[in-house]
Amino acid sequence: MRLDVDGAPVEGDPAPGQSLRTYLRGQGRFEVKKGCDAGDCGACTVLVDGAPVHSCLYPAVRAEGRAVTTAGGLAPGDEPHPVQDSFARHFAFQCGFCTPGMTVTASTLAEEDLPDLDRRLKGNLCRCTGYRPIREAVEHAVRGCGGGCLGCPSGQGDAPGDDAPVSARADVRPPAADRVVQGREPYTFDVDVPGLTHLKVLASPHAHARIVAIDASAALAMPGVHAVLTHEDAPVTRYSTARHANRLDDPRDTRILDSVVRFRGQRVAAVVADTPALAEAACAVIDVIYEVLPAVLDPEEARSPGAPLVHPALTPEDGVAEASRNVVASWRGGYGNVGRGLARATAVATGTWSNARVSHAQLETHGSIGWIDADGRLTLRTSTQVPFLTRDELALVLDLDPSTVRVFAARVGGGFGGKQEIFTEDIVALAVLRTGRPVAYEMTREEEFVRTATRHPFRVTATLGADSDGRLTAMDIEVLSNTGAYGNHAIGVMFHGCAESLEAYRSPAKRLHAEVVYTNTTPAGAFRGYGLGQVIFAVESALDDLALRLGIDPFELRRRNAVRDGDKLGVTERRHHEDLIFGSYGLDQCLDLAEAALRRGNGVEAPPGWAVGEGMALSMIATIPPRGHPATAAVTAFPDGTVEVAAGTVEFGNGTHTVLTQIAAEALGVAPGAVRLRTSDTDATSHDTGAWGSTGITVAGKAVHAAAVALRSLLDGGAPVPSEGLTAHGETDGKVRSLAFNVHAARVAVDVETGRVRILQSIQAADAGVVLNPAQCRGQIEGGVAQGIGSALYEEVLMGDHGSPTNPAFRVYRVPQMADVPETEVYFAQTSDSLGPLGAKSMSESPYNPVAPALANAIRRAIGARPMELPMTRDRVWRLAASVAPTPVRDAQPSDLR
């Protein structure tokens, strides 16, 4: 077969069932990404004879004689297409994995498409940005403003080449921008590895079973099959897929392959073969005999007497508190007299709130490529947020010296916590060691749902009392978290979820009873917000009920109860913490900013007859995860005036690379264009805990800042710069943490006849300290709000009778499309943090946290009934509205908030 790809002839016959996507990638055209492989996300969009198609759905055979255009060929030579240039200029990407397909689609649009952009771009999903900058980029490109119009970003950061010194507070474009928009920035699988073999996994059909026997002889007899791995090949050392600075933070309950499977979809065996198709075919002929065991799917049942036990043999030594009741961990305690507080309250609000499992839905699926390098080291190129912690754990589990293992990440196509885990590296490492061959394991989208992790589903019962002035008299909170079959992040998510959510309020009495339990369901794991959003949903909903009952404005109620600068903090005891400080305090400003914006309105009117309501919620978050987050960095000056920054942290859409560049450039007084980065590689520096807990700036940035400042003083002191460079080092232990704040407010319209919810105005105010790269920080907030809207209104991983997902595809799991995300007004408090680098605080996870309760409170005030369950889908909202009043509240006005 012959065809033309980006103007060059290509020859080679495809397999009969091959899609154009894999054919093109097989030809080295890595601009064509795989997000879903099912036609839902658009990351693989190419033009065929000028018409845009999803190449994953296009039979490769049909491409014969046609002209195919990828994102790399939209414009001649290395030049970006105008729409690509506009994407780079408008910060219209974060991780950038969706961007090549997005720009190919956008390149086909004309002025008459602009009023219908939501529909024209509904076949392209972006998980990071919240779409606002994408919309702007497309509009400006299609109108042909060339970047010169008033609405275009301008200023220092916009200068191509970044050749002038600029402040870290400027909107500098991401260093990879031009490559990302053309699809030329390599991600994990955008590399050609000679002799690469492929790994596929055989999944458990049972929620709980003991493997009695595995007969892999038929698979092994297939030509091209190199190995079949089973539990007999796996080390006995248990670990957690979750990664933290301290490996004892998570229960050691997982083996690479186990003789007992505890959820449907768990790995039973893995095949290594010459092609993915062959590996899949070999999996199909492995004969497994199971002894099916009783399973428990419900978390309340799981901790009840007589329930089947998920990990009966584990003990507190393994990090499991009470395996005999399936309880991984619990937190019980309090201060003050809750009973008396509730008894003396003028109003008491109580209820049980729950949230669904949510998929991270980062567009790049998990995956690793492993090989033995020339020095004999086990080497893994992997889509991870935690290269160092992964290396250390693999070395421990596989009984290797850490110096014989190298783990690195290319640019990562989104994470959201889902890649603070070892989901592919372990089995790839085992396969490489067994076969000696390079091995790739690229998860499918279905595997993402079935075999990685989701957000933890919580049930939270909150009972809050307040006096007639609205001052809290007591907070009584019960939490039940379902971690699924494995305890990755079970403990951390429960503790963190209950910490800043309850610490955010002054109350004379608090009582907490929290437990996290095992069930025979798909594991839950780290997800943006790390438990906070689940508890905040309950607390902020209950507070809204108090405000309604007492007739107090909800902003005012928060002002009367939220923590103030310098307050003692606590959940089960109130005290000052040495490691948790108010490095700056901007919650008061956030409340004022959000309230003023809501009062101002935005002129968007509700459709006639729809009920209208306003809602708000706040959230607080520590700027670094607890108990240490060490990082090191090195900055090197070269005689030619260039600078190299070596740091461990990973770029996955968080914008860290841009900011690290800016921090070093500002400290050294050079242009960002003079700074090179060497990151996300265990060879780059000695240690980095990883890019999670929003630590890209507060930890990695701080280490880079320290190194750059040290280098500056060496240079200022007249130190010579040898040809190999002059290096200074910086480090931080990340032990002391500050506090950041977010307030979300919204005005919504609800069609009570259908349950449709339209967000008329979306507002978020944030205290990020000194805002480094405001365009990027705004993007983090907009993206967090968009993901919050998804969790609030649309997204739910539905669990079937076997405790595994029944909707593992984007056509039935609703990641927000452009049409679902309104523009959010973003406001920043003016504070400067005493702890963070250049006064900055974290701002990546936290914008997500207050969104769902703010929307729930708005819906409550629109329809007169309180949402108790996320997501607030149209069918649920309709049912809820129908439950209260034959004549719904149709005329709620801002004054109703008071």
Binding site: Q18, A38, D40, R62, V812, P816, D820, D875
Partner: protein
């Protein structure tokens, strides 16, 4: 995605080559076939080389060939007097599939796949289209499109049966039409679609799809009052629950949309 179990690819040019071997499937646009692993398929039989006309317009009406894409149908110039023609674009927009998919996906493929949310099916049923079926046994039969689906994703078509074309009569094409759609997300896969057509003489057809497992066709000699359309829609059988909506909600909103369609057509 790659169909890893497929080992054969045929491009027939005559009807006698259209006989399917076990494991073979017809390939029209491929947009559904390639969207799931479909591990029971071992061979693809590409219909493109048959060279069938994609669209045929005549005094009798419109014939949509088996390889006509949704984009082809939407590109058909407006035909004088065919008030129903805009229904096709509205139906296309009711699909989750974006305009890029329309470039490959076929109208007939959408019908044959038989999903409850198939909007091309909704449009064709609303226009009382007939399907010309080339049976596996070499026969030809003509059946109403509305009679093809038997459930959400199942049809009366046997392995090897081929819908050669869909015929829509001029009478139906002269009717006015309306479409309402709702999903759990604004542009998501439909939870309920209500379509309708109304003739100058008052004959009115209202069709519920996506909310009921198979199309629900309501026929009236005179335009129904919206409340009647609403109640009739809610009285239909086959409302169901899945990831795209709960049965009680589907029943309720089908009524809401039916009333809106009746009102627009009145």
């Amino acid at each position: 995605m790659d169909l890893t179990t497929v080992t054969g690819y045929r491009r027939p040019t005559s009807r006698d080559e259209l006989v399917l071997a076990p494991g073979e499937r017809f390939l029209a646009g491929g947009t559904w076939l390639f969207s799931e692993p479909n591990r029971d398929i071992t061979g693809l039989v590409d219909l493109q080389a048959m060279g069938w006309p994609r669209l045929e317009v005549s005094r009798d009406g419109l014939t949509i060939g088996a390889t006509c894409t949704i984009a082809d149908l939407l590109a058909l110039p407006p035909h004088v007097g065919w008030a129903a023609q805009p229904l096709f674009a509205e139906a296309a927009n009711a699909l989750l599939a974006s305009f890029k998919i329309w470039n490959e996906a076929t109208v007939v493929g959408n019908i044959c796949r038989g999903f409850s949310a198939a909007a091309m099916l909704a449009a064709c049923v609303t226009l009382d289209a007939d399907a010309v079926v080339w049976t596996a046994g070499g026969e030809e039969r003509i059946v109403p499109v509305a009679g093809l689906p038997t459930g959400n994703g199942t049809t009366t078509l046997a392995h090897g049966d081929l819908v050669r074309e869909v015929r829509i009569g001029a009478d139906a094409l002269h009717a006015r039409t309306a479409l309402r759609k709702i999903a759990l997300a604004e542009l998501g896969r439909s939870g309920a679609v209500v379509t309708g057509r109304a003739h100058a003489d008052g004959r009115t057809v209202i069709v519920v799809t996506a909310a009921t497992l198979t199309p629900t066709v309501l026929r009236y000699a005179a335009p129904p009052p919206p409340a009647v359309a609403r109640d009739d829609a809610r009285a239909a059988a086959g409302f169901y629950t899945d990831a795209l909506g709960a049965a009680d909600w589907r029943r309720h909103v089908a009524g809401v949309l039916a009333a809106e369609v009746a009102e627009e057509l009145a």
